[in-house]
């Protein structure tokens, strides 16, 4: 008997241990010069370790670059910008701890991040209560700004402090469905998602538009984002004879899923959203050729406004690539810098006492031409830039295929 209760106890303990991932945060700001300048801190929250670190490090570096550029150009007189970057490991609970840290630091006037919509959900409320501006470069979950009512046309602003430079899943899913049905001429799709806020939302909005267009969803399944063996699901896909798989989720699972799909003899592409638009998707997937992804904005390489960003990023010598969200992160950071400028100029060139409130107020007035195009925010805090691009893997790299500014349908 004692043995069995020991086994039970052990199982309980392990489950507990599994949920306790090591909490480590890596603060590193760039050198603080001080002097007679007022230092303003912009927080950055992204997963810089773990599966999604490729995207997370791109975010951290791009925010750092924006702050450095503003300092070098003395864009806001008398203000020195400093980045405080925290690692959320893509975990909502760690994101929440980071939010508390940012709120506790009085010098923080705005936060850029996070990457994951699920993490954002845990940060929105604390930021809202503290009146601290948050601009996400990557959250595409529609309900983050518009609430659960968006599906029925009853959109309501959720948090006055939340803004984003990435467009919504509603737009992204619709764009993907349009591209697949009209351009790639694929009429039957097997739908898979990873049950996270981002993946499930994206898959749902894809399904909506795809069936409206006349396409057929021949089967659907959900997987766990930590899984790496998808052979059983792949067998199901094969049975239905679908012409493509649409995956709502991120590249750590999408890479092996796509490879196992093709290993099993399915000659069909996998399509996903901006969560799989990463160089690591191709690195972890030896048969990525022909796979599709959509991402927000135009490819930064194609935009004139982005050339400077790319050159500066290279010159700054960051070890990691800027990845999918480099441009939108730079713009998100810049929007806070712009808001600080408005606040400072409205206060005789000095940082106002209630800096957080003034910055938040200024966010609605922010308007500039950034890396991804014209940046401004609508009444929900969403970006007014709805440019989307479809990419396909060609010769081991993502190649842009088609860009369009999507009109939200309502």
């Amino acid at each position: 008997m004692r043995n069995r209760s020991l086994l039970i106890l052990t199982s309980v303990l392990t489950t507990g241990a599994l949920t306790l991932t090591a909490c480590g945060s890596r603060d590193d700001g760039n050198g603080d010069k001080g002097g007679d300048k007022t230092t303003v801190v912009i927080g950055v929250d992204s997963p810089t370790s773990g599966d999604l670190s490729a995207l997370g490090l791109g975010i951290k570096n791009s925010a750092d670059l924006a702050a450095k550029t503003a300092n070098k150009e003395e864009y806001v007189k008398g203000i020195e910008f400093k980045i405080e970057a925290l690692d959320d490991q893509a975990q909502p609970n760690i994101g929440q701890q980071n939010a508390a840290k940012f709120i506790g630091n009085k010098d923080v006037v705005g936060v850029v991040g996070p990457l994951n919509s699920s993490v954002s959900q845990s940060m929105q409320k604390p930021f809202n209560d503290a009146g601290l501006t948050q601009v996400s470069p990557a959250n595409t979950g529609t309900e983050l700004t518009q609430g659960d009512g968006w599906k029925t046309g009853d959109s309501k602003r959720q948090f006055k402090t939340f803004f984003r430079t990435a467009t919504t899943d509603e737009i992204q899913g619709a764009f993907a469905a349009n591209y697949l049905y009209n351009t790639a001429k694929i009429k039957s799709v097997f739908l898979i998602d990873d049950q996270k806020t981002y993946g499930a939302g994206l898959a749902a909005s894809f399904k909506d538009t795809f069936t409206k267009l006349g396409g057929k969803i021949v089967g659907s399944d959900h997987v766990n984002p930590e899984d790496r063996d998808f052979n059983a699901v792949v067998t199901q896909v094969k049975k239905t004879g679908a012409d493509a798989v649409y995956y709502g989720g991120e590249y750590p699972a999408a890479g092996p899923l796509s490879q196992q799909l093709k290993d099993a003899g399915n000659k069909i592409p996998l399509m996903g959203g901006d969560g799989i638009y990463s160089g690591d998707f191709i690195k972890l997937n030896k048969k990525a050729e022909g796979d599709l992804a959509t991402s927000v904005g135009k490819p930064v390489e194609q935009l004139d406004s982005a050339k400077k960003f790319i050159a500066d990023y290279k010159a700054a010598g960051y070890k990691d690539a800027y990845e999918a969200y480099g441009g939108s992160t730079y713009d998100a950071t810049w929007s806070i810098i712009e808001a600080v400028k408005i606040a400072v100029e409205g206060n005789d060139g000095k940082l106002p006492e209630d800096a957080r409130a003034k910055v938040l107020e200024a966010m609605a007035k922010v308007k500039f031409t950034g890396v991804t195009g014209d940046v401004s925010f609508d009444e929900f805090g969403d970006t007014t830039n709805t440019m989307m691009t479809a990419y396909q893997v060609e010769k081991g790299a993502w190649a842009p295929k088609f860009s369009e500014a999507v009109k939200p349908q309502s």
Binding site: A54, F230, T235, G265
Partner: protein, 308 residues
């Protein structure tokens, strides 16, 4: 098209992997009644050991490299497993059972974070080399060339282990230690050596499973031991912890259960919400609970019931 053979093959491949790892849990438990929760990480270290060889010789043909990868993976895993026994568990051998258990959980976190921190670029999943080639058709199932490794390695390992435990002097010493360590000691069995040996064999099997995992999945990551370790532990309990054949049987049953739950649960009337890849773990654990209710000692377990 009938996909049952394919699902059975999927389950068998996964199950063989679980089984090989489960042997490590079961052998250690059979001899020292310790659940070595760091075993999943020992598996993970085997995977990184094999990857290291590939990174050292990136241009060598994979077929020629495989033996070297296996050897180095085994060396890494065994070294870590034996060191864990010597420095983490042996000092606690007389302590209450919870102490080594918690040590094991701590050790597992330490190993994970150590790889994360010091292995180059291990903060994200790393691609693992794979063979090119079309899948082989066998009784209606397509089996990837890369998955053959585990299907061949698992039976060979089990036969070798069976021979070792039953026919060799050290193996009989192991059985004696498992039955009654004090008496075995009196009879001249060096129990300390036997215990290290149990850890080492378990680690070696985990390393072989890790090479199979890398070939099958095409990637390794510092977190891969977490889920695989937990599943293998489940397999060991399912098969009857303490019984080496039970570990393999438990692994295969668990793998098949997962594949079949993914494939067919949604077709059962009224269950369409509970099928598919997201629910496979739930069904695997439902199976575990049912088996433990009917046979608390596990499928092949016998000794465990009268110990403790």
């Amino acid at each position: 098209m009938n996909e049952l053979p394919q699902q059975l093959a999927n389950g068998l491949i996964l199950g063989a992997m679980y089984g090989l790892i489960a042997v490590g849990y079961t052998m250690v438990y059979g001899i020292v009644q310790l659940i070595n929760f760091a075993h999943g990480e020992i598996f993970m270290i085997g995977g990184f050991g094999a990857l290291t060889i590939h990174l050292w010789f990136p241009d060598a043909p994979l077929l020629a490299l495989i033996p070297l990868m296996i050897v180095f993976a085994v060396i890494c895993s065994v070294a870590v497993g034996a060191a864990a026994e010597r420095f983490a568990y042996r000092p606690l051998r007389g302590a209450p059972r919870l102490a080594p258990l918690i040590t094991a959980i701590g050790l597992s976190l330490v190993l994970q974070q150590a790889i994360w921190k010091w292995y180059p670029d291990a903060t994200k999943d790393q691609p693992f080399p794979q063979f090119e080639g079309d899948p082989l058709s066998f009784l209606g199932a397509d089996i990837k060339v890369n998955s053959l490794f585990i299907l061949i390695a698992a039976p060979i390992c089990m036969i070798a282990l069976g021979y070792f435990v039953n026919k060799t002097r050290a193996g009989r010493g192991m059985q004696a230690t498992a039955q009654d360590p004090d008496t075995a000691k009196l009879m001249g069995v060096n129990t300390d050596r036997i215990i290290v040996m149990a850890f080492a064999i378990g680690a070696a099997f985990a390393a072989i499973a890790a090479v199979g995992y890398g070939l099958h999945q095409g990637q390794v990551g510092y977190l891969m031991g977490l889920i695989m370790g937990l599943k293998a532990f489940t397999a060991a309990v399912l098969g009857g912890i303490g019984n080496i054949y039970g570990a393999m049987l438990g692994g295969i049953v668990l793998g098949l259960a997962e594949a079949l739950a993914t494939g067919y649960m949604a077709d059962v009337p009224g269950m369409d919400l509970f099928g598919g890849g997201a629910w496979k773990d739930v069904w695997a654990f439902v199976l575990l609970i049912v088996v433990l209710l009917v046979r608390p000692q596990g499928l092949l377990g016998e000794r465990v019931a009268d110990r403790a």
